[in-house]
């Protein structure tokens, strides 16, 4: 694989992580999960490196990266709002929370604000149904969230709400 000098430093960062797994297809998923955890997305260069490490065409690697929900091909914001949209949360009003976050931040599920501060995601179920509806921001769990609580949560992250 041809790597230009600028990419060299980047590549060497990914290399140790990728090479820590044996070069077999069954480890593609695990490698991608570790990359996603460390960098918050799957860098393009890393995908080509996985491809040559495990001997699977990069098209197949891309297919996996886009198939599984855990992976993102673009960098995520500094604060990731994960709104649980499991059934229990849904019937207790998670949709209204998403609407309100759109009002405040101008992003829908799957999007990131232009300044790279906030990302909004939905998750299928966090298994904390007793606290429904649940919003998780960078690992911090907010339970029984009401639409009116969101402004405060956004402010905690140093964000500004748009006046809508």
């Amino acid at each position: 694989m041809q790597i230009n000098p600028q990419e060299y430093a980047e590549a060497s960062r990914y290399e140790s992580l990728i090479k820590s797994y044996p070069g077999r297809p069954q480890y593609i998923l695990a490698i991608m999960q570790d990359l996603q955890k460390q960098y918050n997305y799957l860098p393009r260069l890393a995908l080509t490196m996985i491809s040559s490490h495990v001997g699977v065409p990069v098209s197949k690697i891309y297919a996996m990266a886009s198939f599984y929900k855990a992976f993102s091909l673009t960098p995520k914001g500094r604060f990731v709002f994960r709104v649980c949209d499991g059934t229990a949360c849904h019937i207790k009003g998670s949709e209204t929370l998403l609407d309100q976050l759109y009002q405040h931040l101008g992003i829908k599920a799957g999007q990131t604000t232009e300044d790279g501060q906030f990302s909004l995601e939905t998750v299928n179920c966090l298994g904390a149904c007793a606290l429904a509806p649940v919003v998780v921001v960078n690992g911090k769990v907010y339970g029984k969230v009401k639409p009116g609580d969101l402004e405060e949560i956004i402010r905690e992250c140093g964000g500004q709400c748009h006046v809508s």
Binding site: T87, A88, I91
Partner: protein, 605 residues
């Protein structure tokens, strides 16, 4: 069960702090840390109490739970601030902290142990037998409660075939949803030619609103591992995989530790307990795709491909992982196996109904008083679970339906509440057992919107390989969205039924074949709601925003101000003790006022 599940002998005061997912989110871990810190600060102990963080006790509604053994005291909703008082009063003086005890809503009596509550009294723990009683990070705790005895028994006194015969005789059926007889599956794998053979534990719990498997993996990882080793011995497999959702951090962590500990104790690895039998387990973290709960898709995912299912002309038990004979069972199924081997098939088969033996774990969520995990014998009625164990519908509202079986299941109405639940009765009612989610819905839940929710979920999860599922779900979603937006057409109901039937017949895997269930079951039991949306442009539950305008009934409003306080957009005006008014131009129709008004004064126009 006639055979006893071994209880701990507590000769020392022990504090069990629930650190399951629900309690942790509620601050359980901080309570545990506070105990660790403060117990050290006290010097007056004759014998210092033992502190343990446990898996999920199931009663998430009242968490974080703290239990004091051997006196069997349970404190609810404990915060770090309460820790000092518990140490001083209960651990040192031996008295109760009354305000932290559960108060029975009917008798108003304070109950010192959770075992006295309706929530626990009616349960029967088999798969969850150890959870909440042990520290999942300590193999010694599991062994103390009879763990790995079934394994020793099987390896030294039973042949592989005898293990299969026992599982067959127990009547155990797969708990992941399908309900396929476990023993039959194992037999087919044992009889299939080819080596090596594989064992897989399906921990890709994807149903929204269901967290049974997660609790088992987090709270008692060794029971899953012991079950898998027994299965491997029975069919002659040498390698096992646990496929678990990567989002389940805690489960991955505890399973990893449990596998290491099992190896160092000689329960995993070469020549297990000097029997000559060798087996090992690897963890595979899933990538977050609902369809991977389907066996063949899961196998594809472990092999390192996109998780697309295959048609099952040949079952995985004959040709599965890398083309080799493979047994796949769900987490809860594996958790039952050690009990069957140790206490005998007969005692297991004595619980349940004629077609479905043993117990089933359900996650009881939604508009119900006691949210949490419950394990009951098969054949228990929905009414017992929801109203006796679950304490009924939240805020004493009217029960409308209970959704079972996740996105592939259906909604069951009030008239079927006395249905004894087992695999077959739920299928007949147009739903299914699924993995065990029970989502309670009240009269403020719109059934059309619920159907749209599930179809929307499946639209994102359909892998796209076969046309009936891919296109069918999209068409269903389009129609349901239209109806919820108030643009439904008279022919829509018929169209929904026609598409659904085609999908049931023509889809490749179970995801597509069962995807129309939420639509068909709501059409079957709540057709009038569909018609109200289409013909009268009304959403009787006040959920679909385009069809809903809230107003306050001047006769019923007492001017208490609760709705005004809860309105996040300041759309409600009014002085105290005077009738309040909703400004329709500001209202976002979130329904907070509608759901919370104690006088039912907020109404739908």
């Amino acid at each position: 069960m006639s055979a006893k599940i071994k209880e701990n002998n507590y000769d020392q005061q022990t504090v069990l702090v629930c650190c399951g997912t629900g309690c942790t989110a509620n601050g359980g871990r901080k309570v545990y840390e506070a105990f660790v810190e403060k117990v050290k600060d006290h010097t007056e102990w004759k014998v210092q109490p033992i502190l343990k963080s446990t898996g999920c006790n199931g009663w998430c509604e009242k968490g974080p739970l703290v239990r004091i053994m051997p006196r069997d005291i349970t404190y609810c909703s404990v915060t770090p601030k309460d820790v000092d008082e518990i140490i001083n009063k209960t651990l040192l003086e031996g008295s109760l902290v009354k305000r932290l005890l559960y108060r029975d809503p009917v008798t108003k009596e304070h109950l010192s142990s959770h075992h006295q509550t309706d929530f626990y009294r009616k349960q029967h723990k088999v798969a969850l037998r150890n959870i909440g009683e042990i520290d999942p990070g300590r193999i010694e705790d599991y062994i103390e409660r009879g763990g790995y005895q079934a394994l020793a028994l099987a390896l030294h006194n039973m042949s592989g075939q005898e293990v299969i015969d026992a599982v067959k005789a127990s009547g155990l059926r797969g708990r992941g949803g399908g309900g396929f007889p476990t023993g039959v599956k194992w037999q087919s794998c044992k009889d299939a030619p080819g080596q090596p053979k594989y064992i897989i534990c399906n921990g890709d719990e994807g149903d929204p609103g269901a967290f049974m498997d997660r609790s088992i993996m987090e709270g008692d990882p060794h029971t899953v591992i012991e079950g898998m080793i027994l299965g491997a011995y029975a069919v002659g497999a040498s390698q096992g995989f646990i496929y678990v959702r990567d989002e389940y951090d805690l489960a991955v962590q505890y399973l990893g530790k449990a596998i290491e500990d099992a190896r160092s104790h000689g329960y995993l690895g070469p020549n297990i307990l000097n029997s000559g039998f060798s087996f090992d387990i690897e963890i595979v973290r899933g990538g977050g795709a609902f369809v991977c709960g389907e066996e063949t898709a899961l196998i594809a995912s472990i092999e390192g491909r996109t998780g697309e299912p295959k048609d099952k002309y040949i079952f995985p038990s004959e040709k599965g992982l890398w083309g080799q004979p493979t047994v796949i069972n769900n987490v809860e199924t594996w958790a039952n196996v050690p009990v069957i081997i140790l206490h005998g098939a007969d005692s297991f088969a004595s619980i349940g109904t004629s077609g479905s033996k043993g117990t089933k774990v359900f996650s009881l969520v939604g508009k119900v008083v006691n949210t949490g995990l419950v394990e009951v014998p098969m054949g228990t009625t929905l009414r017992e679970i929801i109203f006796e164990i679950g304490g009924g519908v939240l805020k004493k509202r009217k029960f409308k339906a209970v959704q079972t079986g996740g996105p592939s299941g259906g909604c069951i109405p009030e008239e079927l509440l006395d249905l004894p639940i087992d695999f077959d009765s739920l299928t007949q009612a147009g739903s299914m057992m699924g993995s065990g989610g029970l989502i309670v819905m009240d009269d403020h839940t719109c059934m059309v919107e619920v159907a749209r929710y599930y179809v929307n979920f499946l639209a994102g999860e359909s892998c796209g390989k076969c046309t009936p599922c891919r296109e069918g779900i999209r068409a269903l979603l389009e129609i349901l969205t239209r109806i919820c937006n108030g643009e439904g057409r008279p022919e829509d109901v018929e169209m929904l039924e026609e598409i659904s039937t085609t999908m049931q017949e023509a889809s490749l895997c179970a995801l597509g074949r069962t995807a129309p269930n939420p639509v068909l079951s709501t059409l079957r039991y709540f057709r009038d709601e569909y018609l109200a949306h289409i013909e009268q442009h009304k959403c009787p539950a006040g959920v679909c925003r385009n069809l809903t305008t809230f107003y306050i009934d001047a006769d019923a409003c007492t001017g208490c101000g609760l709705c005004k306080k809860q309105c996040s957009v300041d759309a409600i005006q009014g002085e105290k003790k005077e009738t309040h008014v909703i400004d329709e131009s500001l209202c976002i129709r979130c329904g907070e006022c509608f759901r919370n008004c104690a006088f039912n004064a907020v109404k739908i126009r």
